[in-house]
């Protein structure tokens, strides 16, 4: 309705007829507050009184309960039977135990984790998902009922749903801990609780990639990840974790489990760790951990899920068809192709044996690698702590990559310095072995990059795919770079061939579009073709320009701007590889616990 400002007429109080009984109740009350003849506005005064009253908090004084201030928390009566009486013994650890049949789906555990741990606004270490499917109808014959009209009744199966609450599984072989480059994870030798050392974390988020269950969560405010520690401070004093305390239906409890048993269930035959699943070929055995969740062999989760329906039903995650782009990790999108350009160039120089191009080549390679490393630190939430990243070298491919690239970059730096400051040292006897060493260090570093991703067990990042992409980039960018430096037709010819081969392997993922269901690789293919079709197009377009058209032009006719054209080709190829790497990160479908309805 069109609003109007009040006119003077409207500001007059409406007349009240004497017969109006309300008039009697008005005696003594002030006339309209709008009347200009009243000097002190009583409404304003009353507003002030009310506002002052509103600010006065009374509950503490008038009602504060002196709740029992004894040692034993009052809630203990509800959770006393939900936590173990004794600490784990040798070969044992604490674990969550979830009875899915008791869970009603209220999700209080998520909110309680947030509140009782004082987490950030959006932070909770527990999440919930939903399994849907069919299970045999439990009604009818089994309770002795017979339909008088038609004999036995009921369809053989009925729809079921089960809410799945999940937190850290405090794995027997934790991926987060194994992958952490700075040893910011501890698996407590007594309790088996996997704890995160917040002040040690550099915020690299490699644990997020390593955890098959999406447990560690990155905090932008702190620049680190945080995760569930099974409320170890509570357990230490005999209190139940927040989620256990808050479940109205006692669906979550803490149990003591035998670690060897967990390993036996999770890894019935150890080689299974790297077993590949070929979509559409052969039925996988039922997941002993939980349907529609990652293979337990990856990290051996200790949480145990119980339900009468798990063995008799076909359950799938409510979000199995949902497409969620992953974090594109833009600094890494730049870092990886740049480092691979650097290495490719060094390999080209080493193989060509050219001394003339060495100064320019090594310098470019060094600059590319320097930019790569500089950009990479942008990826860290706590870059000032990054110097510790070598600590995890015994298990972490992240540490190994850092060490390897560190050596490579250091060597390149030295090499470059020599080339510029002491060019007289540049003889074949020194130049060739130095190039070779740099190339080998670089190749080793790229191998570490490959392993870093392959070790996450994500199917889109399998060893084969990561190896193909990363070393494909090394070869492609190395050839084009060398072609530009050396002005070599052979290089350009090879560039076209390698580009086409790499494009073919990159497009390999699209064959999963036709696979039934929603396995991770199909989701990656769908993300690439639907959500990120423009980037996929850009990847092909940049690649064809830089990997076919310009090299082709250079092959057909040499012209005075050959080197400049070559440089353009290299940059276009680099852009194409960055697009490919964006898809590598954004279109990965991480393994995860069953999620809720997604819309």
């Amino acid at each position: 309705m069109p609003a109007r400002l009040l006119s003077d007429d409207e500001l007059e109080e409406p007349t009240v007829t004497p017969s109006d009984p309300r008039a009697s109740a008005r005696s003594g009350s002030p006339r309209s507050h709008f009347s200009s003849d009243i000097p002190v506005d009583p409404i304003a005064t009353f507003v002030d009184v009310l506002l002052a009253e509103q600010r006065d908090l009374t509950a503490a004084e008038r009602f504060a309960f002196k709740h029992r201030s004894g040692e034993i928390p009052s809630q203990a009566r509800y959770y006393r039977n939900l936590i173990p009486l004794s600490k784990p013994g040798v070969g044992e650890q604490y674990a969550f135990e979830v009875n899915l049949d008791q869970c009603s789906g209220c999700k209080a555990c998520v909110a309680a984790c947030h509140s009782l741990n004082g987490l950030e606004d959006e932070e909770s270490w527990r999440t919930v998902g939903l399994l849907i499917g069919e299970a045999p109808e439990k009604l009818g014959a089994d309770i002795g009922f017979r339909d008088p009209a038609s004999g036995t009744r009921h369809q053989p199966s009925a729809p079921i749903q089960r809410t799945v609450t999940t937190a850290c599984h405090h794995c027997a072989d934790p991926g987060c801990l194994n992958g952490c480059p700075v040893l910011a994870y501890e698996k407590d030798p007594l309790t088996g609780i996997v704890r995160h050392l917040d002040d040690q974390c550099i915020g690299c988020q490699y644990c997020v990639m390593k955890c098959p269950y999406e447990v560690p969560k990155f905090s932008k405010r702190l620049g680190i990840v945080r995760k569930c520690d099974m409320c170890s401070q509570r357990l230490a004093v005999g209190e139940a974790p927040a989620c256990v305390q808050s479940c109205p239906n006692e669906a979550i409890r803490i149990a003591v489990v035998d670690v060897a048993e967990a390993l036996a269930v999770g890894r019935p035959s150890l080689p299974g760790k790297f077993s590949k699943t070929v979509p559409g070929k052969g039925a996988r055995p039922p997941n002993p951990f939980l349907p529609a969740s990652p293979r337990p062999g990856i990290t051996v989760p200790t949480t145990r899920y119980f339900s009468t329906v798990l063995t008799t039903s076909t359950l799938r995650a409510a979000d199995e068809a949902a497409l969620h782009p992953a974090d594109p990790h833009l600094p890494l999108v730049a870092m990886l192709p740049l480092s691979q350009l650097s290495v490719g160039l060094m390999v080209g120089l080493a193989l060509s044996g050219s001394l003339s191009a060495l100064k320019t080549g090594v310098t470019v390679s060094f600059i590319a690698m320097s930019i790569a490393l500089g950009v990479a630190t942008l990826h860290l939430g706590q870059p000032l702590r990054a110097w510790k990243a070598f600590l995890g070298w015994r298990k972490s491919w992240f540490s190994r990559e850092v060490i390897a690239f560190g050596q490579y970059h250091g060597f390149l730096g030295l090499f470059t310095a020599v080339l510029w400051l002491k060019p007289e040292l540049l003889t074949a006897a020194i130049g060739h072995p130095a190039s070779g060493i740099a190339a080998l260090l670089g190749l080793g570093s790229v191998f570490c990059s490959v392993m870093l991703y392959a070790d996450t067990q994500r199917e889109f990042w399998s060893f084969g795919r990561s190896f193909g992409k990363f070393f494909g980039s090394v070869t492609l960018l190395g050839l084009a770079g060398s072609g530009t430096l050396l002005d070599s037709s052979a290089c350009w010819g090879a560039t076209i061939a390698v580009f086409l081969a790499k494009l073919a392997t990159d497009l390999e993922i699209l064959r999963f579009l036709k696979v039934p269901g929603f396995p991770p690789l199909k989701k990656s293919a769908l993300l690439i073709t639907r959500r990120f079709s423009r980037i996929a197009f850009a990847r092909v377009a940049f690649g064809i320009c830089g990997g076919v058209l310009l090299p082709g032009a250079l092959l057909v006719a040499r012209h005075p701007f050959g080197r400049a054209t070559g440089l353009v080709a290299v940059l276009l190829l680099l852009a194409g590889e960055m697009c490919e790497r964006f898809l590598f990160f954004a279109a990965v479908a991480p393994t995860k616990m069953p999620g809720g309805i997604s819309a």
Binding site: G28, F63, S115, P148, E186, P248, A318
Partner: protein, 762 residues
């Protein structure tokens, strides 16, 4: 905190370079919280605690508020509160979060000539409120200004609003959004029992051996009630009557997935089977009811074959259900919105009541025909909002009642109208006809929740002045207002709420309202003062003062609470269920004293003692009707208002999607934690058969259309809905663009649960 032990994989160097403690680690350190709390985050350690009942749903859980300098810093469920036994649903856990939302209304907002809402001072706002409404009343009559309230404010605020609106401002029509949830139960109880009197107490969940849930999904809608069901030690038979395979149906021992809105037929069919097999309680029927013979005659033709055909169930399913009810020693019947939101809702609720009556399942532990309420204070709205009933469950038409209420309030009896207000839909029609020109909306979100929501903006354009009083200026409805009054919410004021089991529970002021926001109570005081009827409300100075007035009004009513000594007593007793009279009962002859289950007047030991924490009604088979007998009320089932058709071949069911959304999501959406517990955007549950037939991929976009609107949402393909039916959660604003405005003729409650739609890939 414990120091991490050295793990084998860490080297000596590694350990030396590890930062085990520091600023970030300290953030999560816990300390003993005292007050029986156990470990709490050190940052949030309280210096006092107090108990307040939750302000979301009608379960009415007790929450232990953690206070620091009088201000709430955190909360946890109250261990000893008799309702929730130390537990809460996610909404309860997050109850404080919506108070701190950045979009709280902090000043009054007035829409200028340019159509923009701008902050104004309270004096200006209240001046505009009074002048505009008075002008409308002068021009169009006193009744041309109406209000639409809520079930979310306190009893004292309802009483103030109702008295101010009708006795002070001369309005005739006011209603609440409780019309959308509880009107049916109120009317059904009124006709069947003689008073709007849900008979149960939550202990009944634990004491039944057969529980029948009709159109109720407590797993999601009332998780704390389901907690009580799971504590039932009798391994109960749990029967769920619902077209969908809900969370509750999955956990039931019997699920009757009936055809939508065939519940009345099913219930009559169950009555038929129970009567035919002689499974009735003849003694109770003879002693305590009237109208059974006619009812027996009426249900005679609801034969199993006919009922099976009309409900899409098998004869066996129906028979098994009836037999289970017969076998139960303590059978309780529970219903909620699946029943209440129907075109024949009142009769359906009464068909449930009839089953309880004929089998004698009432007044004993574990029994009852029990309406699970929706909003935290729906019962406060029903009894004390002065809309459908005169204050305190009185009758506007009854001169004795008018005289009594006028006497207690010290007002001229002529101020009290002789008839009840229009219902919500009639007020909306009144706006359409131009009879209502000014509207005051308090704590509800009509532009989201009204059935056939599309009509609301155009309807409101017909108003001369629309005032919205709310915590947020961002609700769909506030955005349409001419004047927004910033209200303090739950936790920012004192008062009482009445839960599903008739329990008055106290809410406390534990947080400061932001900016210039005032509690609804204080806004009513301010308006009373500015309107010029301050004298009438001279004694209405604080919520507790109004509570005492309300108590006096209830004297002699079934909901008599004159025995409650004040807020302190409510606090110490874990709330008090009505009735709790001060004097021996029977002040009104029409009310049979025996109807009060635990009658203190008969038991001297109970006089002036603390009330038992769990009490139920009708222990001696006496009801609140003039003759003390419960009525069998029934009527021929009617076809749905909008059957499916070739153009609209699907039935759209609506309802609650998660426990984490509430009341058009105006408050719950403010919590980042709650937002993680439900999909961000609208979705439609579709049976796999229908999805396959229509070529709808899981998680693809689909278009749902009804004759009223067209929306696009995400497909969730699931067998939990039957073929030919789709389900949409009501908390997405899109949903009510589709719903069909049909109403139960007795309760005027909208029929949200059934309309015809079409479905296709978007």
């Amino acid at each position: 905190m414990t120091k991490p032990a050295t793990s084998p994989q860490a080297t000596v160097l590694g350990n030396a370079l590890r930062s085990i403690n520091g600023r970030m680690t300290t953030e999560l350190v816990q300390v003993p919280g005292d007050f029986g709390l156990g470990q709490v985050p050190s940052r949030l350690a309280p210096d006092a605690t107090t108990t307040s009942v939750c302000g979301f749903c009608s379960t009415g859980c007790g929450l232990k508020i953690h206070l620091k300098d009088g201000q709430a810093v955190n909360l946890s469920p109250e261990t000893d509160y008799p309702v929730n036994l130390g537990m809460a649903c996610p909404k309860g856990w997050e109850a404080l979060t919506p108070l701190a939302a950045p979009d709280r209304a902090t000043t009054p907002l007035f829409r200028g000539a340019d159509g923009v809402l701008r902050p104004v001072e309270w004096e200006t706002a209240i001046g505009a409120f009074c002048d505009r409404f008075k002008n409308i009343q002068t021009e169009h009559g006193a009744h041309s200004v109406a209000w639409i309230g809520t079930g979310q404010i306190c009893v004292e605020e309802f009483a103030f609003l109702g008295a101010l609106g009708k006795f002070g401002m001369g309005m005739k029509h006011g209603d609440g959004n409780t019309r959308q949830c509880m009107a049916t139960a109120a009317v059904a109880y009124m006709e069947s029992f003689g008073f709007d009197a849900p008979p149960f107490t939550y202990a009944d969940f634990e004491q039944s051996d057969v529980l029948v849930f009709i159109g109720a999904n407590p797993c999601i809608a009332h998780p704390i009630m389901w907690q009580r069901v799971l504590r039932n030690p009798n391994k109960p038979e749990i029967i769920v009557v619902d077209p969908r395979r809900t969370e509750t149906a999955v956990n039931a021992t019997q699920h009757l997935p009936l055809k939508p809105k065939s519940d009345l037929t099913l219930l009559y069919g169950l009555a038929h089977l129970i009567i035919e097999n002689g499974w009735i309680d003849e003694g109770f029927i003879a002693e305590s009811t009237t109208g059974f013979d006619e009812f027996r005659e009426f249900v005679h033709r609801f034969t199993p074959d006919k009922v099976a055909a009309e409900t899409n169930l098998t004869v066996g399913q129906i028979y098994h259900c009836a037999e289970s009810i017969h076998r139960g020693k303590a059978v309780s019947f529970w219903w909620t919105m699946g029943v209440n939101q129907s075109h024949e809702a009142t009769r359906t609720a009464q068909a449930i009541i009839n089953l309880a009556l004929m089998t004698g399942n009432i007044g004993r532990p574990g029994t009852g025909a029990n309406s699970i309420t929706g909003q935290c204070n729906a019962m406060g709205s029903r009894l004390f909002s002065n809309t459908t009933n005169l204050l305190g469950g009185h009758d506007f038409k009854n001169p004795v009642h008018r005289a009594k209420v006028a006497g207690v309030l010290g007002i001229d009896e002529r101020l009290i109208p002789h008839e009840a207000s229009w219902a919500y839909d009639q007020i909306m029609d009144g706006i359409d006809r131009g009879e209502i020109k000014g509207l005051w909306i308090i704590a509800t979100n009509t532009a989201h929740s009204w059935i056939n929501q599309n009509s609301v903006p155009d309807l409101f354009k017909k108003l001369d002045f629309l005032v919205v009083q709310d915590m947020y200026a961002t609700t769909e409805t506030a955005q349409l207002a001419d004047l927004v009054l910033p209200a303090g919410g739950w936790g920012e004021k004192e008062g009482t709420l009445i839960n599903s089991e008739r329990r008055f529970g106290p809410v406390k002021k534990v947080s400061r309202a932001p900016g210039q926001a005032l509690s609804d109570f204080n806004i009513f005081r301010l308006i009373a003062h500015a309107w010029g009827c301050g004298e009438m409300f001279r004694e209405w100075t604080s919520p507790e003062a109004v509570f005492r007035i309300v108590q006096q009004i209830t004297a002699g009513q079934p909901c008599d609470i004159t025995g409650i000594e004040g807020y302190q007593m409510l606090d110490e007793c874990g709330g008090v269920q009505w009735p709790w009279p001060a004097k021996p009962y029977g002040a009104m002859e029409s009310r049979r004293e025996g109807a009060l289950g635990t009658d203190r007047s008969r038991n001297p030991e109970l006089q002036n003692s603390v009330p038992e924490q769990e009490r139920r009604l009708f222990a001696d088979g006496k009801f609140f009707t003039p003759d003390g007998r419960a009525r069998f009320v029934y009527e021929e089932p009617r076809p749905v208002a909008e059957p499916t058709s070739p153009a609209y071949p699907f039935v759209l069911l609506t309802g609650r999607g998660t426990s984490a959304q509430w009341h058009t999501n105006s408050r719950t959406a403010k919590s980042a934690i709650l937002r993680q517990l439900y999909p961000a955007n609208a979705y439609v549950e579709i049976n796999p058969e229908d999805a396959a037939r229509l070529g709808i991929e899981p998680n693809s976009r689909v278009e749902v259309s009804s004759p009223r609107g067209r929306i696009v949402a995400t497909a969730f393909v699931t067998g939990t809905v039957q073929p030919g039916q789709i389900f949409m959660p009501m908390h997405y604003a899109e949903t009510n663009k589709l719903t069909h405005p049909a109403f139960d003729p007795y309760s005027r409650q909208p029929s949200y649960k059934h309309c015809a739609v079409n479905l296709k890939p978007a």
